[in-house]
Amino acid sequence: MIACSHARSLARSRAQGLKDRAPYVRRIAVISAAKIHRLDAMALNDYDVIDQLYDMLQDHSAEVAASCVCSLNEMLGAEGGMACNKAVLMHLLNRIADFHEWHQCIVLDTITRYLVSPAARQEISDDDSFDILVCRLLARLLLQLSWHSIRC
């Protein structure tokens, strides 16, 4: 019970951290969400944190956005990780070059999980330009990666 109330108060401070001006504090707040969830899975239910984290995927800072993906995957692990749709997919693909390598792995993993799901087939099948778009974005990413390996 006490643990529960502590987690609630932590949740509240974390919720404020999400609105901090500094990206570093926002990133820590996003990661703390997953930590609190591990401490007490029920603590965050009252604060619609999951929705907030989905909103924060559009954060100016790529680090914050990528941390959101990590936290969501952790917190929604029981449901098979973060829920994705076409809009989220396009958003993440557009920004993938800004993420660092480890985050790119996690984002690509999330995207792959969505693309092989039946929901994705339904959403994407009526859009011919979609494949071209995804290919172009991934090609840009591969180019960036090979550029890194050449420099090394």
Binding site: I2, A3, S5, H6, S9, L10, R12, S13, R14, Q16, G17, K19, D20, R21, A22, Y24, V25, R27, I28, A29, I31, S32, K35, I36, L39
Partner: protein, 156 residues
């Protein structure tokens, strides 16, 4: 004791390997004295070096729990590196020594209201990493007291 003064005499960069050469649990007393001397003389460099050595001993498995009190006092500094090291130390020992950990809650809450975003972030991170279920009833009231103005400030 001589190994301590020998290992820590030089600056932080080059002497790191010497941290791991001679380890004795009796050195904890010497470390404690070193920490209190550094804090008494307000020697920032010596203080950071002493904290570094405590962390080095911690990673080697030496029980440096008696140093929790001086370490919490060491958290009250403007040196970010030292602050981060102390928080690392506190998170490590929090679940085993809840009563002592309680003393650091105030420092953490104070840092949550700092103007420097790095300090705010570090404090938030440390606060969420303390695994102390038995302490929560003590943490809760001051936490709420500090957060209320913080919330108002952030919502502006």
């Amino acid at each position: 004791m001589s190994s301590i003064s020998g290992g820590g005499g030089s600056s932080g960069g080059g002497s790191q390997s010497s941290f791991f050469e001679e380890v004795r649990s009796s050195d904890v007393v010497a470390l404690q004295r070193e920490l209190s001397e550094a804090s008494a003389t307000r020697d920032a460099v010596a203080h950071r070096e002493a904290v570094k050595r405590v962390i080095a001993y911690m990673t080697l498995g030496v029980d440096v729990a008696p140093l929790i009190t001086p370490m919490i006092m060491a958290a009250n500094t403007t040196d970010l590196v030292q602050k981060k090291l102390v928080y690392q130390f506190l998170c490590f020992y929090s679940d085993r020594y809840p009563p002592q950990t309680m003393m650091c809650i105030n420092t953490l809450l104070k840092d949550m209201a700092d103007t420097n975003p790095m300090v705010r972030g570090l404090a938030l991170r440390a606060l969420c990493s303390l695994r102390v279920p038995s302490l929560l009833e003590y943490i809760l009231p001051p936490l709420l007291r500090v957060w209320t103005p913080l919330i108002a400030c952030l919502l502006d």
